[in-house]
Structure formats: C-alpha cells, structure tokens
C-alpha cells in the first residue's frame, strides 16, 4: 500500500512538474539554426532551370510553380505558375499551399532574393515539399528561352545541352518564336516562248 502511494505521488509530481516546464520559445519554429544550415547546404533543395524544363516537358503533374513576385510585377510567368506575393504568404488563402504533401512547390522570383526569403521562412516551420529555382526567372529566360551557342571548342556534352535547351525553347515558346530565316525567293527562270514553226509542209 505504501509503495503504491509513493508511486502515485511520484507520478503526480512528475506530471505537475512537466506541465509547469516552460514551453518552447518559438512555437512556430520546427528547425533550429543548425538544422536550417544543414538544409541550406543540401543540394536537393534546389532545382536548376534545366531540371525544371525537363520536369515541365515530361508533364509531371506534381509540380506546382509558385511565383513570389509582388502582384504588380507579376507578368510573363512560367507556364501554369500561380502568384503568391511575398507579402501575403501568411494569409489564409495561400498559407496552406506551402504546408502540404501532395504537390512539389518550386518557388521562384525574378532573381533569387525573394524566393530565397520565402523558402527560408517556410523551411524553418518544418514544411516539406518546397524547392527553390536556382537563378529565378532571369536565369530561365537566359538559359532556356535564349540559349547561347557554345564555342567551337566546347565538348560534346555542352553541344548536347545546347540542343536540349533549343528543344525546350521550342516547347515553351511554340513555333512563333523560331528564328527568322532569311529567305529571298528565287526569281523564276523565264521560259523561252515557243516560236511558231514557220515554213515546212502544210
């Protein structure tokens, strides 16, 4: 009887002390600074423009592009991107999109700055499935939509990559943006007029 009482008292005391312990300083933060640094160094958190082009062309339905530019600057976005301006990422309409397990969010802005800020804020709250597009829209426009011909001395891999980018470019821009070919129609050769046969037997 005595030991049982003792046990009860200990368990009660344990419960009370546990309940009185101070809570975490920042309840919204799931990762501490060292875990965040590990995430920053992890290459799998970043998507290059070539990888993204491949994913979009293969029609991966799990990719959700999120453009974090302010609504006033939202123009010429990537295909099927949605605009979540950086100042409204915590509003009710948008916040749930960052914390889900179905889609893979690829965040981008004009360059890296805004998207990196949003990515850091989402990552530290423990939200998964958020990735960062390296170089943003500027890199996309420069590399995929306007690829540079490698120099003659470049390796075969570089030429292969160039071919791939040209194909991607055609996929994303359609035939309209194909380079203009200088074409001057050749003047038709003037055929000689047949002369009427003159003379001879009739």
């Amino acid at each position: 009887m005595k030991s049982r009482e003792l046990l009860t008292v200990i368990v009660l005391a344990l419960g009370i002390t546990g309940a009185m312990l101070p809570g975490r300083k920042n309840d919204s933060i799931a990762l501490n600074e060292r875990e965040m640094l590990q995430e920053m160094l992890l290459e799998t958190n970043y998507v290059s423009v070539d990888e993204l082009a491949h994913l979009l062309i293969s029609g991966d339905p799990s990719i959700q592009l999120i453009d974090v530019r302010p609504a006033s600057e939202f123009k010429d976005p990537l295909p099927r991107a949605i605009n979540i301006p950086i100042d409204s990422i915590f509003t009710e309409n948008y916040a749930y999109l960052f914390d889900q397990f179905i889609k893979k969010n690829v965040l981008y802005g004009l360059d890296d700055e805004l998207a990196t800020q949003v990515w850091m804020i989402m990552k530290q709250q423990g939200f998964k499935n958020n990735y960062l597009l390296k170089g943003g829209l500027n890199e996309w426009n420069a590399v995929i939509l306007d690829p540079e011909l490698p120099p003659q001395t470049a390796s075969k891999d570089e030429f292969d990559l160039y071919e791939k980018r040209m194909a991607s470019r055609q996929f994303f821009t359609g035939a309209k943006s194909l380079p203009k070919i200088e074409f001057t129609p050749i003047a038709p050769i003037q055929g000689r007029k047949k002369k009427k046969v003159q003379g001879g037997c009739s």
Partner: protein
Amino acid sequence: MKSSIRPLGIITLSLFGFLLIVSFYADKSQFELTAKEMHGKVLQSNYRLDSVGLSKLVDPILIDIRDERSFLVDHLDYSVNVPLSQLLNDENLKLIGESRPKVIISDERIHANESWMLLTQMGYDSLFVYRL
C-alpha cells in the same frame, strides 16, 4: 509517515531538476524571431549592396562564405573566409557578433541571402549582402 516524506521530496526535487536540465538542452533554438516576425522584417529590409554601397560602409567586416578553394583563387582585399558550412562555429559567430557592419560576400545569391536570413533571425544586426 514522517520518514517516508523526506525521500519522496528528494525524489521529486531531483526529478524536477532533471527535467529542467533536459528541457534546457533539448531543442535549444537560438532564433530570436519567429517565422512571422522574420517575414515582417524581410519586407522592410533592403540589405543588398552594390559596389558603391560597399565602398561607403565605414570599417566593415567582409565575410566571404564561398568554399576555401574559390576564396584562394580570388577574393576581395581584407575579406575573411568563413565557408558556409562553418558559419555557426563559435569563433565565427563571435566575429559576426561585433558591432561593425558585416558584409556577407558570395558569388551565389541564394547562399548569401540564406545566410543573411539565418543570422538576422538569430538576432545579429547590421548585416549586408554583396554579390561578387
């Protein structure tokens, strides 16, 4: 009865102490700002420097966060190399904790911005970012 209260008290007190120690060391985040506070902060901050802004800073500490090899090949005069993976080492944090303006330098805008976010959230101020 009286004799059984004393060990009970000792046990409870020691348990309390143990829990305090455990809670102190477990999940000790040094973040000063919550995610939402940080969000408010980035909306107001403009921390990106161009070369003119960099030259205007008085007695700045230039922190190059690229890896050692890239730093060896080429770097700004008077800059110190703190590779990103070692950013949170005690001696580096001591450097960042100084009151002089600190400029994070990198050729990768993503890592420079990330470092700014991380350190700002930990409560360090007068931080800037300069891209090589």
